[in-house]
Symmetry: C2
Subunit: 203 residues, 2 copies
Amino acid sequence: MTKIKDTTEEKILNAAKEVFMKYGLYGARMQDIADIAKINKALLHYYFRSKEKLFDQVFSGALHKYFQQMDVFSDASLPIKERLFKYVDNIFVFLEEYPQMSMFIIKEIGINPDLFKDRVEAIKKNKGVNLIKILDEEIARGNIKKIDTALFWINMHSLCSYPFLAAPLFKHGLKAHHKEWSDYSPVKIKQSVKQFIEKTLSV
Amino acid sequence: MTKIKDTTEEKILNAAKEVFMKYGLYGARMQDIADIAKINKALLHYYFRSKEKLFDQVFSGALHKYFQQMDVFSDASLPIKERLFKYVDNIFVFLEEYPQMSMFIIKEIGINPDLFKDRVEAIKKNKGVNLIKILDEEIARGNIKKIDTALFWINMHSLCSYPFLAAPLFKHGLKAHHKEWSDYSPVKIKQSVKQFIEKTLSV
DNA sequence: AAGTGATATAACCAAATGGTTAAACCAAAG
DNA sequence: CTTTGGTTTAACCATTTGGTTATATCACTT
């Protein structure tokens, strides 16, 4: 499936990703990371000088992947709705692989806002695509309904992300109603997100 | 605003709530809790035997408040849409006071699923209201559109909760578009949730 | 004023944690 | 075979962490 180089460095990074995502910077234990990577704890410091440095690498990678999904918006050749649908597809692929990542990013930013300011500026400049601006332009051209684009953006993301974040809750909640989470995620949810987009944007 | 008894026990619980919500069980430090409560660390153990016990109290309280919102559904005298609107109002009041709580619950359940199984069963039995079942009944009576009720439930919660969870992200993201988070949350978001309910359920 | 029980604190302890070091391993080059 | 370089490990260290204890303080009763 995914490429596995299996170098020591990658084993560490994968283990660190797992542990940091679950417990956050403060809650994570270097020994746990070493155990999962099946290496000696000292190797962590050999490859990444400190816990903070290792965390920084993991967090940067997460943030990069998170914003990478927006690349599809650069493709101005596609009609806006197609781009949005493709974006939703991207998000779902991403969320299925890293269901915890958006929460990880949100949590760590909440704890240490500085992590964000520095890094995001760099990413933003690299991409240079202004998603809400694009939607506003489409409205000006009359291609979509006249809506509050920022609000639409928030709502669309909510519909996509929250089901994955809250999966532990929903899994249990649905079972109480003799329904299975697997029947809902991700196929049906993706459908209903696209429905929401369709209904909200159609003139 | 909220009643403040200001007993030592409450000071500790409030401090613990703050720290546990931010850092989780593993990430939280007893000394931090003591500092915020402005008491000696030993007092923590005097009132609550251990870190786990203190956490348990905080977590139980959070879970209780979280599910308490659903009480409005017991009031069968109101038409279903009124009940849903009232429920949304409740959620927003709750989320404005405890924006981190749903993430706290979700995170801790993800780490330690056992916490959930034991406690939720008790809560569920106390309430005895089956929300999705109520919606299904309303469909049978022809009061609302024939929809997938569980999916509707998930979507509605997503629209309510995620904006609060992801506030740190949105705050920053909106500023980049010269818009302010305060212009969107919570008034406009609540409106659009109710719009979503209206559109989705109307026959 | 003296006694009493609950409340609070400083000082302490053992275990865990992030981090270091010196020595061992091991593949490739000479 | 020996050397050389990067890689890996066991043993260790200083600090932090959750938790305990002995002592002090305070509110209240007698």
